[in-house]
């Protein structure tokens, strides 16, 4: 049972890293970006292609899996997303669905639609037992990396000037702009970092979650669950929501395999009905 808990925590931390960019984007610019999964997929494919075609070792591909989607995100934000902020939410939904369709088809065309297999380095394979709990090495690695990232994010948010500007802009963009904070610039940087984190999550998760061109469509709902249940005003909200989701999904699929992901969706609908702003968010103003 503790093994399940451990696996669930690993899954949850991975989901958090994948979804944190989306949470901040939504909280900051009120932009429903359903194409967030596309950046995750980009990071995953960067890792896979570098490992397969260029023979780069797994760990060395991870920084690039962060950088490439971050750069793509920065460019996309300036050119494609920025004209969209003032539009109604339906336009955001349609726009990001269009982007998802395009990226899925493009990746299918260039790389092919088969599942990508990652060969992990030897020291990350296998598992060891600690007091009867089976600890997979790779899952431990994921937990450690995601924990470090979470702490780094929390540090940036709480202790740096940029972090306080970001928090101010999330709370009230108009007042923040009125105080002289360049909200657009804050948002560009945040979007890029969020996309980079998604890419890193996609690379880390390629072994656990699988990687194929339909990745954005399959996992979009999980990211959205993390963001809507966790609320968009803090980082700890999505973190706890992701952990809850990860543990619930793993436990649900183990104990009630007949219903599969039913448990997670029901939990989400119930939570959102009880608290539409998410477990940790503030009440919606629109």
């Amino acid at each position: 049972m503790l093994t399940l808990l451990f696996d669930g925590i690993a899954y949850g931390m991975l989901l958090f890293v994948l979804a944190v960019g989306l949470a901040v984007t939504l909280g900051l610019m009120n932009f429903v970006n359903l194409a967030h999964g596309a950046f995750a997929m980009a990071g995953g494919y960067v890792t896979v292609l570098l490992m397969e075609r260029a023979g780069v070792p797994f760990l060395a591909t991870l920084p690039l899996a962060f950088l490439v989607p971050a750069v793509i995100g920065a460019v996309a934000e300036r050119t494609l997303y920025r004209p969209m902020y003032k539009r109604p939410h339906l336009d955001h939904v349609l726009f990001s669905i269009g982007l998802v369709f395009m990226t899925v088809a493009a990746v299918d065309y260039f790389v092919g639609s088969q599942q990508q297999i990652i060969k992990l380095p030897a020291f990350l394979q296998g598992r060891f037992d600690v007091a009867g709990v089976g600890i997979g090495r790779y899952r431990l690695f994921i937990i450690v990396v995601c924990l470090v990232l979470t702490l780094a994010l929390q540090l940036v948010l709480a202790r740096t000037r940029f972090g306080s500007r970001l928090r101010a802009a999330v709370d009230d963009p108009r007042v923040a702009a009125g105080l002289g904070i360049n909200v657009n610039q804050v948002f560009s940087i945040t979007f890029a970092v969020g996309s980079g984190l998604a890419g890193l999550g996609g690379a880390l998760g390629a072994e656990v979650l699988g990687l194929d061109p339909t990745f954005p469509l399959k996992f979009m709902i999980y990211f959205l669950i993390v963001v809507s249940v966790g609320g968009t005003t803090t980082i700890t909200g999505p973190l706890l929501a992701a952990l809850l989701l990860g543990i619930a999904d793993v436990a649900g699929k183990y104990y009630v395999p007949k219903l599969g992901a039913f448990v997670v969706y029901t939990l989400m609908v119930a939570i959102l009905f009880w608290r539409p702003q998410g477990l940790f968010g503030r009440a919606a103003t629109k």
Binding site: R87, H89, G98, A105, Y109, L217, L259, F262, A284
Partner: protein, 317 residues
């Protein structure tokens, strides 16, 4: 012009509306070998009109409307398989069941922001998808097979060419359009548009927002269920595809392409979408979604309302 007569003028049937409505039954005589394709278009059109009711008129962005479509399909197929193969009875049962489902889930979409509503509609559709996938009596991933539909009205057998099927779906579409039009051109319909435009203000002038949204959501769900039942009955098959996310996304595209907020957008959008699908897949069968996505991107960036008004393209908005 008095207030009463100007209000009456808005709800009167315009010549072009009568023209479009008359074109529908006429099309049955014109589609010879293409009846099966036309049948699909009619079903998607009915589904799109049902989504337009909540999207274009009530302002509820729903990414899970396929939940009702698929439920209607499964309900009709199960009814035909286990109870009675008469199609009209099956249609009535499917409408009843999806109306109940719509009423139940309408409670969920009343609260919360746009994102919460989006997630809840997605979640409901996903829950139903999982249920249909895992439960035994729905046939799981293979879909419900072995469904035989009896003759329509006891006399007209569903033939291979789809003539009877198309006529059946066409009547369903026309009835749906008439019902929807009656709803939106009534004071109730205007109150929905008021709620869509400014919910707080609508509540402030005394409209019971929750009750009205609940009613229109239930009606829309029933109509979507009817479309799903028509699909199951005319194809003799119900599958997970009816509950899938891509079906919700596709019908939303249909409504947007045709134009949300005027009912005929559903019909025109269905025709346009099917045409686009056929042309694009003939050109590139595997990657046609790329061009669809590009079209959507351009559509949104140019502005949804401007697509069908070419004179606005050159003007800066």
């Amino acid at each position: 012009m008095s207030a009463a007569s100007s209000l009456a003028a808005v709800s009167r049937w315009k010549p072009w509306e009568l023209g479009l409505l008359a074109a529908l039954p006429v099309s049955w005589f014109l589609t010879g070998e293409h009846s099966l394709l036309a049948n699909e278009i009619a079903i998607v059109a009915l589904f799109a009109v049902s989504l337009d009711l909540i999207l274009g008129y009530a302002g509820i962005v729903s990414l899970g409307h396929a939940a009702f479509f698929g439920t209607g399909a499964y309900a009709a197929a199960l009814f035909a398989k286990h109870v009675m193969p008469d199609p009209l009875a099956g249609l009535a049962v499917a409408i009843g069941i999806t109306a109940l489902l719509g009423a139940a889930s309408s409670v969920l979409v009343m609260r919360g922001s746009d994102l919460a509503r989006l997630m809840i509609t997605l979640g409901v559709a996903a829950i139903l998808y999982e249920l249909a996938n895992k439960l035994d009596f729905t046939g799981g991933a293979d879909g419900l097979q072995g469904v035989t539909i009896g003759p329509l009205l006891g006399r007209f057998e569903f033939d291979l060419y789809g003539r009877v099927a198309y006529a059946y779906s066409l009547v369903g579409l026309i009835v749906g359009l008439l019902v929807a039009r009656r709803i939106v051109k009534s004071p109730f319909g205007w109150s929905l548009q008021a709620i869509r435009d400014n919910r707080l203000r609508a509540a402030a002038i005394g409209l019971n927002v929750d009750a009205r949204l609940g009613v229109v959501y239930t009606i829309s769900a029933a109509m979507a269920g009817a479309a799903g039942a028509l699909l199951a009955q005319t194809s003799g098959f119900a599958s997970l595809d009816g509950l899938d996310f891509h079906r919700s996304a596709d019908v939303m595209l249909v409504v947007v392409i045709g134009g949300a907020g005027w009912l005929w957008g559903g019909v025109l959008g269905a025709v346009a979408f099917k045409l686009m699908h056929d042309i694009l897949s003939a050109w590139t069968p595997q990657y046609w979604t790329f061009w669809l996505g590009l079209f959507l991107l351009v559509l949104v960036m140019v502005g949804r309302e401007r697509l069908f008004r070419p004179w606005t393209w050159m003007k800066r908005s």
